[in-house]
């Protein structure tokens, strides 16, 4: 597994976590016709942290994820990862910049198996083209082997062995959420965007997810930006929490501060 292409260490992980902004969201504004989904959103995500992003339905959380992964265009503002603007990149270059994501409503490749979905997640790390693949050159088989080793590791990690070769169309929502996470981890992202990973999980499963998210940071050295409606989960697992409402940042601080922030309470209680 000691593969150059997969090495995502960005700094010495044994050193105390220093607050280097891994991602800077600067004044991001997005409009859909009349509505302003994001309105000057600004915050940083530091390397090595788990950052929660909360807000009521329609606050703009998924829209922000879509901007970061270049699914939507920003009308104003900029998004930098390690000082590099993502907005000058194409959607297909986001993984190369170290950003992986899951989708709120699942966006799996329904006719591919679990293992194939995960291997596809590592597509950005390979260099195979049509010709080399058609001729099955040695390089292709080597790359395939390293993708499949990584997939096997993630399949074990996420407890997916029993369904590894099943087409994803046959599996339950909760299982598919895991597959999405495995797929996003396949290329060793520096930054993992999780959009409501607890959706569809029961109480017991949420507890496991809480451990998993911490573990992803500790053992896979991945910074996490977590969107979740399950507030207890977010507050427990995050180092920092950003709250947005109607596309604006209303609070940014420790879980404790954000939980008690009057604007957050107001947004959630819907005054």
């Amino acid at each position: 597994m000691e593969n150059e292409a997969f090495d995502n260490t960005i700094d010495d992980q044994t050193a105390p976590r220093v607050s280097v902004p891994l991602m800077e969201v600067k004044d991001v504004t997005v409009r859909f016709g009349g509505i302003t989904a994001l309105d000057g959103v600004t915050f940083d995500v530091n390397a090595g942290e788990i950052c929660g992003l909360i807000g009521p339905n329609g606050a703009g959380k998924t829209t922000l994820f879509n901007c970061i992964s270049r699914v939507y265009n920003c009308d104003e503002g900029d998004i930098l990862v390690l000082g590099q603007s993502l907005l000058s990149k194409g959607r297909h270059e986001i993984a190369k910049c170290g950003v992986g994501r899951t989708f709120q409503n699942l966006a799996l490749f329904k006719t591919l198996s679990v293992r194939e979905n995960i291997m596809l997640g590592g597509h950005s790390t390979i260099s195979t083209g049509f010709l080399s693949s058609a001729l099955r050159l040695k390089r292709v088989t080597e790359e395939e082997r390293s993708l499949s080793e990584r997939a096997d590791m993630l399949i074990t990690y996420l407890g997916l062995e029993a369904v590894a070769d099943a087409p994803v169309s046959e599996l339950t929502f909760a299982t598919l959420k895991r597959v999405e996470m495995a797929r996003a981890l396949a290329f060793k992202p520096k930054l993992l965007l999780l959009d409501e990973p607890a959706g569809g999980l029961n109480h017991h499963e949420v507890d496991h997810l809480r451990q998993l998210i911490s573990d992803v940071r500790e053992t896979l050295h991945t910074t996490v930006l977590l969107v979740e409606h399950h507030l207890n989960l977010v507050m427990d697992v995050s180092d920092r929490v950003v709250a947005i409402d109607f596309g604006r940042v209303i609070a940014d601080g420790t879980p404790e501060d954000v939980r008690n922030h009057p604007d957050v309470i107001r947004a959630y209680l819907g005054e």
Partner: protein, 345 residues
């Protein structure tokens, strides 16, 4: 840092009830044996078949390649083309013109025609990317209806032969080989078919095939995973056109004649029929589809010479009704059922 120490945190997922892990009917060794046996049969075939049957066998191989080309695009990548007869025509005319005007030997004209179609397909695929579903189908349709007429156009008659078409020399049998010219063109076709099926098999079960299917299943997610949709889909279009173009090239060599009327729009529909009846997004389904489109019209004619197409249509409905996953899917189901019943299982 090492990822070797990773321990699972989540409880393992249980397999859904009734779930069968490995569904492949032929795996590893038995698949190789089957393929080699089929190739052996294909090599013996020209020595036992009569002239007309041999011609039909060559046509089956040619259709198999053309259908495989369409299947790569429509089956695996989900881009619907009802205009692949245009690439068949391009490959055929390219081979004829390269031979007549430039004296290019057939063995060089086949890959060259393929590359020409690859280029055309790529260039056509690039703007066509903006088109989805029905609109892409219409764009390809327009290509297929326009091309035969363009080939008849007076201004380029000196190249294309206009309405008359062009005669093509039959590939000469290499000196010393004890085969007839008909057997030789069959062997050339067989060789090209095996090479192209092998390459397609490598493609679809490797990273490229995965990406091609991923783009069909969820384009946005595929892009976020690092696949450049525009280039990838155009290349898929190009490769598809190349396969069908090479089939066109082989058909020009085996029929020794190209004319605009051989590439009527209806041929595109025939290819689509072959792809669907054989089995969408399967490799060997292309071969089954080819058997269907070559032999069923004959069978239908024998059943009723007045209502040939009605009988053909009935056959088509029968296959669609009985084998919703095409003949490849139907045969696999049958095989699985037989094996489940076999003793010792």
């Amino acid at each position: 840092m090492s990822t070797a120490t990773i321990n699972p945190v989540l409880e393992p997922v249980k397999a859904p009830p009734g779930y069968v892990a490995n569904r492949a009917i032929l795996t590893g060794g038995s698949r190789q044996v089957t393929v080699l046996a089929l190739i052996a049969v294909a090599i013996v075939l020209p020595f036992v078949l009569g002239e007309y049957r041999l011609f039909q066998a060559t046509q089956v191989l040619i259709f198999a390649v053309a259908i495989l080309g369409l299947n790569i695009l429509t089956g695996y990548n989900g881009q619907i083309s009802v205009g692949h007869s245009a690439f068949l025509a391009m490959g055929a005319y390219a081979t004829a013109i390269l031979g007549i005007e430039f004296g290019m030997p057939y063995w060089l004209a086949i890959p060259t025609s393929g590359l020409i179609c690859l280029g055309f397909g790529f260039l056509f695929g690039f703007p066509a990317l903006r088109l989805q579903g029905f609109y892409l189908a219409l764009a390809t349709f327009s290509l297929a209806v326009a091309l035969p007429q363009l080939l008849r156009y007076k201004g380029i008659e000196q190249w294309t032969g206009g309405v008359q078409g062009l005669f093509v020399d039959k590939p000469a049998v290499p000196a010393g080989l004890p085969v007839t010219p008909d057997q030789w063109i069959y062997f050339v076709t067989l060789f090209v078919t095996i090479a192209l099926f092998w390459a397609a098999w490598n493609l679809v079960r490797g990273p490229v095939g995965r990406a091609v299917i991923a783009l069909r299943d969820h384009e946005v997610a595929a892009e976020v995973m690092g696949i450049r949709a525009s280039i990838f889909k155009s290349l898929t279009f190009g490769v598809s056109a190349m396969y069908t173009g090479i089939a066109g090239s082989l058909s020009a060599l085996s029929i020794q004649f190209v004319a605009p009327d051989s590439f009527h729009m209806f041929v595109s529909v025939t290819l689509l029929v072959g792809a669907v009846v054989g089995g969408v997004a399967t490799i060997w389904g292309a071969f089954l589809g080819a058997l269907f489109v070559v032999f069923i019209p004959n069978v239908a004619e024998q059943i009723s010479s007045n209502a040939t197409w009605a009988v053909y249509g009935a056959f088509l409905l029968l296959v669609i009704y009985l084998m919703p996953n095409g003949m490849a899917g139907g045969l696999e189901d049958l095989f699985r059922r037989l094996r489940a019943r076999a003793p010792g299982r």
